[in-house]
Structure formats: C-alpha cells, structure tokens
C-alpha cells in the first residue's frame, strides 16, 4: 500500500544494555514525520514497555511497525516461553522480572497495564513453549 510505511526492528537480548533502542528510534522517526506529540508519546511508551518485556522475559524477538496517515500499528513477536496467565500478567504490580535488573528500575509490574493504557487497541496471542505476539494500535490524532 502506498500510504503505509513498514519498519522492522530486531530486538536482541544478547546485550541487555541496548534494550529500549528500537522504541527510541521509532520515536525519532515519528517526530520527523510530524506525527502529533501526543501520539508520539503514546506510541513510544507502549512500544518501550513491549520491547523491554521482550528482552527481559522472551529472549528478544522482532517488532514490525506499520505507519499510515490514520494509525500506527506495532506487532511484537517473540519465540519466548509464552504467558501462562494473561489476566495475572495484566495486573498492575505483578512482575516476574529477575532481580538483577530491578536495580535499574525495572520490575515494577506496570509493563502490560501501561501498554493497554497507552494504546487504543491491544491484542495478545500466546502459546506456552512457542511464543507471544502482542499487537497494538495507536490512532493518529
């Protein structure tokens, strides 16, 4: 489609210190494209939380972003362990993050709740032992 831009990010868990770079990059691109600051903020927060989740819990994955004049769609796909209990994972404060990254401020358990809050639409597909795909849409206003 001519009015769509596709961006792809390989999120590696090899170097934890690079976690968050993909969202940072997308944020700058959207700013350059003149997307409204409000939309940019929502997209970058939703994407950031999703990206960090992928690094911490799923050993990385691929994020594909589609930008149209109407909306931004992010598809975060990983081959991680899957989410055993989605309702529990969506609870504010619930976290399975390891101890060594809590000192960096992660593990507050607000990742998934924030992703839901900042996106207009969110869908989680998960299978234990296979992986998880999170799809989020933010409307451009």
């Amino acid at each position: 489609m001519e009015d769509t831009i596709k961006l792809e990010y390989i999120v590696s868990a090899e170097d934890f210190t690079r976690a968050g770079e993909a969202s940072s990059d997308l944020k700058n691109i959207l700013k350059q494209m003149g997307v409204s600051p409000d939309t940019v903020r929502k997209v970058s927060i939703a994407m950031y939380e999703g990206e960090i989740n992928m690094v911490i819990h799923a050993n990385g994955g691929v994020i594909t972003v589609f930008v149209t004049p109407k909306e931004v769609t992010m598809i975060l796909k990983d081959s991680g362990p899957g989410i055993p209990d989605i309702d529990k994972a969506m609870q504010a404060g619930y976290s399975t993050a390891p101890d060594n990254i809590r000192s960096l401020g992660f593990g507050a358990g607000m990742g998934l709740p924030n992703m839901k809050k900042y996106s207009d639409d969110m869908k989680i597909e998960t299978e234990l032992g296979v992986g998880t795909t999170v799809t989020m849409t933010v409307r451009i206003c």
């Binding site: 210190t17 976690a19 968050g20 969202s23 060594n100 000192s103 960096l104 401020g105």
Partner: protein
C-alpha cells in the same frame, strides 16, 4: 609545588575573614580534620577528604571551594562542556536533556560531551572487569574521589578491593579531548575541557587525581554558578533543541545513589550514601561481614551526586526528576563498539596507603603515645564540648600526643588549675609567715604572689579560642 601539596591538594578552604571560630564544622567533619586555633576553624590537610560536609554545615559561609568561573572559557580557543548527570535534575520541568545541552552551547561552549555517556562506557568496562576478577570481590566503586581518599588514609586493607577503572569524568574528558583535536586540528593546549561539577571532591580529583598521573580536565565550574546563567538560554533552546544527548538510563542514573550499581546489572550489590553511612559500611567491610557481594557503590553525599554541595536542587527531589527523565530511555545509549576513539579505561597508577593517622613512627613509640592518650583522656571530663578547638576529648589527647596541642587547651583543666591556684593562695593567706623585722616584707610577699597569680591567669589568654590574629601553619597547604 612540593609533593605534599599535590598529594594532599584540597579544593575546600577556609575564608578566615568570615570564620567565627564556632565548633559546628569541627563536629561534623568525618575525619576530624578541623581544629579551631587562634579563633579560626582550620583544616588539617592530610586528614581532609574534600567531602564538603564543613561547607554544608558552616552557617557563616566561611568554608569555600576553589572553583573556576566562566571566564575560563576565554583561556581556550575551543571549549567542551562536560555536564555531570546530576545536573539534569536541577531544573524544573526538563523533559528533554537536549534543551540543557543546547543551552550549554548557547552559553559559550563549542561542544558538549555528557559525563553520563562516559559513565555507560565505564559501566560496561566495570561489568567485564568484575566478571573476570572474582578473587577480588567485592569491588568498591572509585567514582567518588572522597571515598577513595578516605580508604587511602583509613582503610588500607580495602585498597585491593578498589575497582581500578577511571571515573566517568576522566573518561569523558579524554574522549572529548580526542574528539575535539580530531575535529579542529588544534593543539591540546588550545582546547579547554571544562567539567561542570556537583561537588568539591571532583575539583580536587582534577587537580590531584588518584589512579592516574594527570587529569584530562582543564577546568571545573560549579553547577550552582552555571545554573542561573543557563536558564535564559534554555528558554531559547526549548524552541529548537539540537540533537546532542547520547546517555541512556544507566548513564543518567549515575547521578543518584544506586545508579552506578544499577549499571552493573547484578543483584549482588550494596549502595550506600552519606559519608557517615559510608564509613560504617567500610568498617563492616573491613571486618569481612559481606564477602559474598560483587559490587559496593559508595557515595560521600546523601542521595548520591545529586546531593553534592555545589548542586542547587534538593537531592531527593532531584532523584525523583532523574527517575522521570529515565523512565522511557533505552538502558544504555553509548557502547564501546560504537565509539571510534579508543582510550584506556583502567587505572595506570596504584593507590597507596597514606598512614596520616598514625600516632608514632614505630610501634614502640605508638604504644607510649597511646598510653599518654589514655591517661589524658582520663583527666579530661569527656564532654566533647569543643572548647579546646578539637572535636572530642580524645581528639585533643591525640593532638597533645602529636605535639600539636597542650593540656591547658582544655577549659576544664584550666579551670581546675585555677581552682587549685585559688586554694593555694587562700591557704597562704591563713598560713603565711612574715618576717617581723622587715617593714616591707608583707608587701614583697604579696607582690611575689600577685606576680605568680598574674602569670597563671595569663595562661587563659594563650588559650586557643581567643583570636590573637597570629598566623597558623595549618590551612595553608596548597599553592594558589
């Protein structure tokens, strides 16, 4: 400049014209380095670790810090500002670090190199070093120069645990200099690398570094001096900020206590802040109470660098601001493989024990002096009142043993002395035998005893607290 001066150079100094000779700073100094002598609270150079507690405490603003002014920019053709990460938290409503960095350019710098970016490189190198040197666990962070100086004079057993990696300010300076030289082709002496510091400790580090011979930093400005000058520039920078920021969560997090430990990405760490707490941790560490830890972060200032005495914002408010700045930042944005310039991050000079607190030259001499100290302590009232100019009775006893003070400096000893005197003379007035033959015998005897009395009371005048305007050796331990 003789070796004593460079080894114990200090940026903290006393402005005698403002000093009232009160005892507030002598009580707060963590190394008991200050004494009130001749009415002024002077710092003993070898004991001072530049932590800045005295600067914080002094209500007369008599304790000052040698720091450069913005005029230093005129000394160089090309200048690079090195803002410390804690500086980002000094401003209200700062959402984008680029605004601050752009404002620094408007202020007059030619370029900016974030100390936070160098901090990420230091964290990276530290993780590798700690991983490959397990036999030296726990490692103690060496970013806070006051902590390193404290360990150097008081905790020699911990010197082997010091992490021998240059602090972020030094790494930033070296990289900034290399980058500036490559970019401009100017010789080193025309390039000014200027650090904007939260504390006096780092000023001292620049003039007299530990772990390396010479610092690549040319000058140091205080955050509190630069802050008001930046505000108008930031208003303009807000319209179109330049894209200069390259620090991530780890780099900016270094500004708070726990940030450096966070960069180690381990849960086997301890982070302590505030000089008294640091001393407690070091004491316990010496007693090997927590050998299982990998890394120990120590900050002389409460809250970490945000609590530095040259910062303007309340350290805990600043901490909250840093947390907000960091919230959606990538974990790190500066990685060694991305930097084309290569520099050596390891120390090239070991830190050596300086036994400044040693009482005697030999063990035998020390034993004798210790006995002397103990017996003196028994004579002193144990009130730690500070009237003698020393922070505690024991400190006065030690000063006497070192030949730096006298027993009569203690007001209570002096008072007892005078009581004794008045008892003697009162006895005399009842028991004296006068030669009946000599008509002037009474007068002579009286004059004799009056002279003696005056002599003894004159001892009160030689007491340290009274300002006699005479010069003292201490406090003048550096070249200007």
């Amino acid at each position: 400049m003789n070796t004593l001066n460079t080894k114990f150079f200090h940026s903290v100094y006393l402005d005698e014209s403002l000093c009232k000779g009160c005892i507030n700073c002598i009580k707060r100094c963590p190394t008991q380095a200050i004494r009130v002598r001749n009415g002024k609270a002077r710092i003993t150079s070898q004991f001072c670790i530049d932590c800045g507690e005295c600067v914080r405490t002094c209500s007369h603003h008599a304790k000052k810090i040698h720091i450069d002014s913005l005029d230093i920019l005129n000394d160089y053709t090309y200048t690079v500002a090195l803002p410390a990460p804690s500086m980002y938290a000094q401003f209200n409503n700062l959402d984008d670090v680029n605004i601050l960095l752009t404002a620094l350019i408007y202020l007059g710098f030619d370029d900016v190199f974030e100390v936070g970016a160098a901090a990420e490189l230091v964290s990276e190198a530290s993780r590798k070093y700690v991983d490959t040197h397990q036999e030296q666990w726990p490692f103690i962070s060496t970013a806070c120069p006051s902590v390193v100086r404290l360990i150097r004079v008081r905790f020699p057993n911990l010197i082997d645990h010091l992490l021998p990696i240059l602090p972020p300010v030094e790494v930033a300076a070296q990289l900034a200099r290399k980058r500036a030289m490559a970019k401009t082709g100017l010789p080193a002496d025309k390039i000014g690398i200027i650090f904007i510091s939260p504390c006096p400790s780092k000023v001292t580090y620049v003039k007299s570094p530990l772990g390396t011979d010479h610092s690549a930093v040319d000058g140091v400005l205080a955050v509190k001096d630069v802050y008001p000058l930046l505000l108008p520039h930031m208003k303009i920078a807000e319209q179109r900020p330049m894209d200069l920021a390259i620090s991530g969560r780890i780099g900016i997090g270094w500004g708070c206590s726990g940030g450096e430990a966070g960069g180690m990405i381990t849960d086997s760490y301890l982070a302590a802040d505030g000089i008294e707490n640091v001393i407690r941790v070091l004491e316990d560490l010496e007693d090997e109470k927590f050998a299982r830890l990998q890394f120990i972060e120590l900050n002389a200032c409460s809250g970490g660098c945000v609590g530095g005495v040259l910062n303007v914002e309340n350290p805990y408010v600043a901490k909250a601001k840093i947390k907000r700045l960091n919230k959606y930042l990538p974990v790190a944005r500066t990685h060694s493989e991305d930097i084309p310039l290569k520099i050596e991050l390891n120390w090239n000079k070991a830190v050596e024990y300086e036994p400044v607190f040693q009482i005697g030259e030999t063990v035998l001499e020390s034993i004798n002096k210790m006995k002397q100290i103990d017996s003196l302590c028994n004579e002193f009232p144990g009130l730690d009142c500070g009237s003698c100019g020393a922070p505690s009775c024991r400190a006065l006893a030690e000063d006497i043993a070192r030949g730096k003070a006298e027993k009569n400096d203690c007001v209570y000893i002096l008072r007892n002395h005078i009581h004794l005197l008045s008892e003697t003379y009162s006895r005399f007035s009842h028991e004296a035998i006068v030669d009946g033959e000599d008509p002037n015998a009474c007068i002579h005897m009286l004059m004799n005893y009056m002279d003696k009395l005056t002599e003894e009371i004159a001892l009160l005048d030689s007491h340290n607290l009274i300002n006699t305007d005479s010069d003292s050796e201490e406090g003048k331990h550096y070249d200007d």
